[in-house]
């Protein structure tokens, strides 16, 4: 890991943590508060590349396990890894890697970014998160998916925002410096 890798990994782990500290953004017609942390995963994957983004998310999970309250609502500690939403957390590094890999393969146009965020940031997170939620709550996967789907509208909005932001950032700041390696 070069100095640049190290700093970007730490910076985007910190960004994702800071997005959880900001007050949740109220969105009309969505029953659950939309927190910024999914946005952090998507932005990391799009902007700093697959490997670094995955490391950033892994680092955030390590900090949580060490006992720092970095999830939205000041949650953290080992308790979050045995609760119903543990699977969503475990999926973060995978999701960030998937988004980054998608973007580096298919280019960084806003359409590709949106698709990458939907596949990695929503699809993959749900694929890992929902069965674990089903396991913890002893529900059928179908019922768990139904319960998890309340987050879907908010997540789609976040995928849209993240894609638009990432596209603008990649244009404003030289791409090859960020996404390579």
């Amino acid at each position: 890991m070069s100095a640049k890798d190290t700093v970007l990994v730490a910076m985007f782990a910190a960004l994702t943590a800071a997005l959880g500290l900001l007050p949740p953004i109220p969105v009309p017609f969505v029953p659950v508060p939309v927190t910024g942390q999914t946005l952090g995963i998507m932005l990391s994957g799009c902007v700093i590349g697959a490997r670094r983004a995955a490391f950033a998310m892994l680092l955030l999970l390590v900090l949580l396990a060490l006992g720092l309250p970095l999830l939205s609502g000041g949650r953290g500690g080992l308790g979050v890894f045995v609760g119903p939403s543990a699977g969503y957390l475990i999926a973060w590094p995978l999701a960030a890697y998937c988004i980054g890999a998608f973007v580096s393969r298919f280019g960084a146009s806003i359409g590709v970014l949106f698709l990458a965020n939907c596949v990695g940031g929503i699809g993959l997170v749900y694929v890992v998160g929902v069965p674990i939620m089903a396991l913890v709550l002893d529900l059928s996967v179908g019922n768990a998916a139904l319960a998890g789907s309340v987050f879907l509208p908010g997540d789609l909005i976040k995928a849209g925002v993240a894609s638009a932001v990432a596209a603008a950032v990649l244009r404003a700041y030289p791409t090859q410096k960020n996404t390579q390696a």
């Binding site: 800071a18 060490l66 720092l68 308790g79 709550l137 932001v165």
Partner: protein, 205 residues
């Protein structure tokens, strides 16, 4: 601004070493998952709750605070299981969830961040032959903790700036300058590290 969840105390649970507590947590977790009798589970839940609030001296208020985020899930379990299976299963699964979270939270509340980091460092040095460098990981963790308030300030600054322009609901106009600033700061920071010989840290010591 960034403080761990550790709560100082002088009970004997605070005095146990972190690996012992983590081992205990793992063992209890397995036990909880294996138990299938409601009466045994109730007994275990009560004893874990007692250990949490009285023996470790964290009090009932903390116990309640760590249970509160779970209530919505417990409600979901009760509804789904009552409808699909039985009241017994619903109680068993709810208690399982609550007790697991209590045990894990107990470890976090009674163990210093530094002790947890020591466990992590020990784990990392086992992985050293695979190319994991514990010094680098320690630096990465310290750097991230240091950067969280800075990132928070940057995001809040940009938010205030856009608010002054009447753009407080324009999330894209808010995040683009914030992220660009983060990337610029990252470049400055990595240049500073490189200038101080970061690339060769921990090579031979």
């Amino acid at each position: 601004m960034i403080a761990g969840l550790y709560l100082p105390g002088d009970g004997w649970i605070h005095g146990l070493s972190a690996p012992v507590k983590l081992g205990f947590m793992f063992f209890t977790g397995l036990t909880i998952v294996v138990i299938s009798h409601v009466s045994v589970m109730v007994l275990l839940t009560i004893s874990v709750g007692f250990i949490f609030s009285v023996v470790a001296g964290l009090g009932f208020k903390r116990l309640w605070l760590s249970t509160r985020p779970l209530l919505i899930w417990v409600l979901a379990i009760l509804l789904a299981q009552l409808w699909l299976v039985s009241a017994e299963a619903a109680v068993l699964i709810s208690l399982r969830l609550v007790t697991l979270v209590w045990v894990a939270t107990l470890v976090t509340y009674t163990t210093r961040l530094s002790e947890m980091s020591d466990v992590l460092a020990a784990m990392c040095s086992v992985l050293r032959p695979l190319g994991v460098n514990p010094e680098r990981i320690a630096f990465l963790i310290a750097l991230t903790i240091r950067l969280i308030p800075s990132v928070f300030d940057i995001v809040r600054d940009v938010r205030d700036v856009q608010k002054a322009r009447g753009l407080e609901r324009a999330y894209i106009a808010m995040f683009v300058p914030a992220l660009t600033r983060l990337l610029r700061e990252s470049d400055a920071l990595s240049d500073a590290l490189t200038a101080r010989g970061f690339e060769r840290w921990g090579d031979k010591r």
